[in-house]
Symmetry: C2
Subunit: 206 residues, 2 copies
DNA sequence: AATCGTTTCAAACGAACGTATGAGCGAACC
DNA sequence: GGTTCGCTCATACGTTCGTTTGAAACGATT
């Protein structure tokens, strides 16, 4: 293991892990710098403020993740010019979340939880970041889904997409919490397939 | 309007509103006591600590809400002894959330957001409260759903229920945020009907 | 060897936090 | 009418927070 990379990256990694575990407000700058073994002032030097660090932590994962979503959507739209299947659209939206979850924690995926947490972050800066990041994606998805489901109204598609968003986020946030003892261990891969099938059926039922 | 009821209730109402708007960690005891126009020491006097106040705020809504859910489940199981329909089970779980959302904010429903926020609260005390409150409900729901969907495994039911949970929570949390300009205004009633249909189809598709 | 921009360091700052204290108050009770 | 009890009050305590500062260390360039 040892100390990987430079100060800036070490801060990002540790911050991501601690934020995802405890929430951004319950993690102090001193917690981060101590665990990352860097000086207390390093965060303000490299990022400006704690708020900016939080934004950087989110941004590092969300930007490439949403780029991957858009690329996946491009791909399925290219291969089926008549409009892709509903399941393929949903998959282009769901699958990238497990590929961009990060692996900073030994064994665990830190951003998985952080990602689930970010939507309930009340910080105005994060909210602005989310809006900026998700709006273009949401537009594209709505357009593709409108084509795939011509019988549904824009509103119906919007709300169904929100339900899917919610199921996905909640799954990320709690997939290793609140689990009953009898539950069989399952792979992420299997579960996102279930989620895609679940959501697709939900869309079609509306 | 004027000042309703006693100090304790005023604190609970204001705390619920501020917590739901800003998250428990970004609301100070001074914010609450100032807005409620009570003395700074009142919270520690009446509740013991801030953490205990948070628990009281959650508990005030969650306990009767989950009681209502169990009662609704009882009711549908009583009226159809062969096992209730899937939609009725889901409704007994979903509908009480909009009836127990509270109306403390003028016009808005404060707990609606707080309720959506509570699952991502990292506080161990809240997590324990949630576990205690949701476990019996989850057991009952799993049992009822197993009966209604004999083809599904316990695991499948568990995960589909999690998806439904997530959709419901996310809807509560963001039903008045991140909305596009073109979106038509819809009633809660209509939307929970959509959610029930959406989830029911999702369950059946698995 | 001297200079310069960059990064790290220990130390301190003021503000805000949750909590504790002890006096003060009014109504209820003996 | 004095005492008790539940509650409110202003004020203070100690801690922790995010941030700032100015000097020291470093590496690259001249």
């Amino acid at each position: 293991m040892s100390e990987p990379r430079d100060t800036r990256s070490r801060i990002l990694d540790v911050a991501e892990e601690l934020f995802s575990e405890n929430g951004v407000d319950r993690v102090s700058i001193r917690d981060i710098t101590k665990k990352a073994r860097v000086n207390l002032a390093a965060i303000n030097y490299h990022f400006g403020s704690k708020e900016d660090l939080i934004a950087a932590v989110f941004e590092r994962r969300i930007v490439p993740m949403n780029e991957a979503r858009l690329a996946a959507l491009d791909a399925v739209e290219r291969t089926s010019p008549m409009g892709p299947r509903l399941e393929d659209i949903l998959e282009s939206f769901i699958r990238p979340t497990i590929q961009h979850s990060g692996t900073t924690t030994a064994g665990g995926k830190a951003f998985s939880k952080l990602f689930g947490r970010c939507l309930s972050e009340p910080s105005p800066e994060i909210e602005a970041l989310l809006k900026r990041q998700f709006e273009p994606l949401s537009e594209r998805l709505n357009a593709a889904l409108t084509k795939a489901l011509p019988k549904l109204s824009r509103s119906d598609i919007f709300w169904c997409l929100k339900f899917t968003f919610g199921a996905l986020h909640h799954w990320h946030l709690t997939k290793d919490r609140f689990l009953p003892a009898w539950l069989a261990k399952t792979e992420d891969e299997e579960q996102i397939k279930k989620l895609i099938a679940f959501s697709a059926a939900g869309f079609r039922a509306t």
